[in-house]
Symmetry: C2
Subunit: 229 residues, 2 copies
């Protein structure tokens, strides 16, 4: 009585790539908390411990899928038009982060960054430098842009609504435990702004991105002038 009841001997052996692709899919489908070693093994038709032959621990798996995510970000072009390059790359990064919301808190905290991660950082610095930024200005621009983009993705991450109808319901639920009139500005914001037809918080992203690009251009072309008179 052997135990190989199905798929007699045709089983495809595991590989790092297959494991990572499956892990990425699991995380995308159900979030980080649904990516356990047991579920991952089950998805691959294997016991959880089999994964430990290919990865030292779960954190190495996370390292791997985070680097897959980094690989999805559009590489900024090299050349004088840094503003277009940064704008395209910024929108790409936002798209990637919203596609893999579970990754937002992990991207910038890896102790073992993978090649896609390092390569992307390298390309960003190279792009800004090729446009004439000195190292300090490149650092300012990079920090400002990525703080904004990651922050936007983070604050949008768990917004539990997609439509203005959802917003109304959610806002009502949130304010319900409190006496009416307790938060007049917030109430006005919801009724006068967030519930207006056609409102989409996602539109805020490019507005803010352009303000930042404009601001970078100003301090880049007039580096001596202090911003506050």
């Amino acid at each position: 009585m052997t135990t190989r009841t199905t798929q007699p001997a045709i089983r495809v052996p595991l590989s790092r790539e297959l494991i990572l692709q499956t892990a990425l899919r699991l995380a995308d489908q159900g979030g980080l908390e649904s990516l356990s070693m047991r579920k991952l093994g089950q998805e691959l038709g294997v016991e959880a411990m089999a994964l430990y032959y290919h990865f030292a621990n779960k954190d190495k798996v996370l390292d791997g899928i985070v680097d897959l995510v980094f690989g999805e970000i559009e590489t900024p072009s090299v050349g004088p038009d840094w503003r277009t390059a940064m704008r395209r790359r910024g929108i790409s990064l936002r798209d990637v982060l919203l596609r893999h919301r579970w990754a937002i808190g992990l991207m910038e905290s890896r102790l073992n960054p993978g090649p896609a991660n390092l390569g992307h950082h390298d390309a960003m610095i190279g792009s800004l430098r090729s446009a004439g930024f000195d190292m300090a200005m490149a650092a300012h621009a990079y920090s400002l842009l990525d703080s904004y983009i990651y922050g936007f993705a983070l604050t949008k991450m768990n917004l539990p609504f997609e439509t203005t109808t959802d917003i109304a319901a959610m806002a009502e639920t949130m304010l319900e435990p409190f006496p009416p009139g307790e938060y007049p500005n917030l109430s006005a914001f919801i009724t006068e702004h967030a519930m207006k037809p056609g409102y989409d918080y996602a539109d805020e992203f490019e507005i803010g991105l352009d303000v930042i690009l404009e601001g970078i251009e100003r301090i880049e072309t007039q580096p001596q002038e202090p911003p506050r008179p």
Copy 2:
């Protein structure tokens, strides 16, 4: 043979406030993963299940300590000088987030925001409106500022170094698995910029914040003009 070996009957009963203060301390000391119901109970001299008399589940405890964190943020002043108000409040928020790094991912995703949370949002909108911003502009400014501030705290959250010496060691460790010259721009950035004495990534925050405030002022005072010629 009773089990009350120590502290015979003087035990202070639990309260929501005491539980939340203890939970906040635990999270501050060891991060979110060290805040378990058992450890929290143990810290209070009580079994874990005792906490469920006061809170429906762990998420309600998180709701509570997140609202404590919101309570630490400086309320923006009302009046025409929105730029000073937003600058002070922004720095205060950054300080709070760096004091409670575990909270960064939780602040904007609460389904049951507490009074401090809602009150702060209300005060922010009120401050911007009192300075003359219409609702749409207030939304733009608020989104831009908080995306940047939360994003800065997020990307700085797990930077595993505090000194330039740490940076050098960390960078070497990260680049070690790859052939030298693989990431020339990144290497140049590290040696020419990040390892310079006196470098502190934290300084980037106010630089970026001022660029954003300047940008908001420009689109607020010249709302018709498209930013890109």
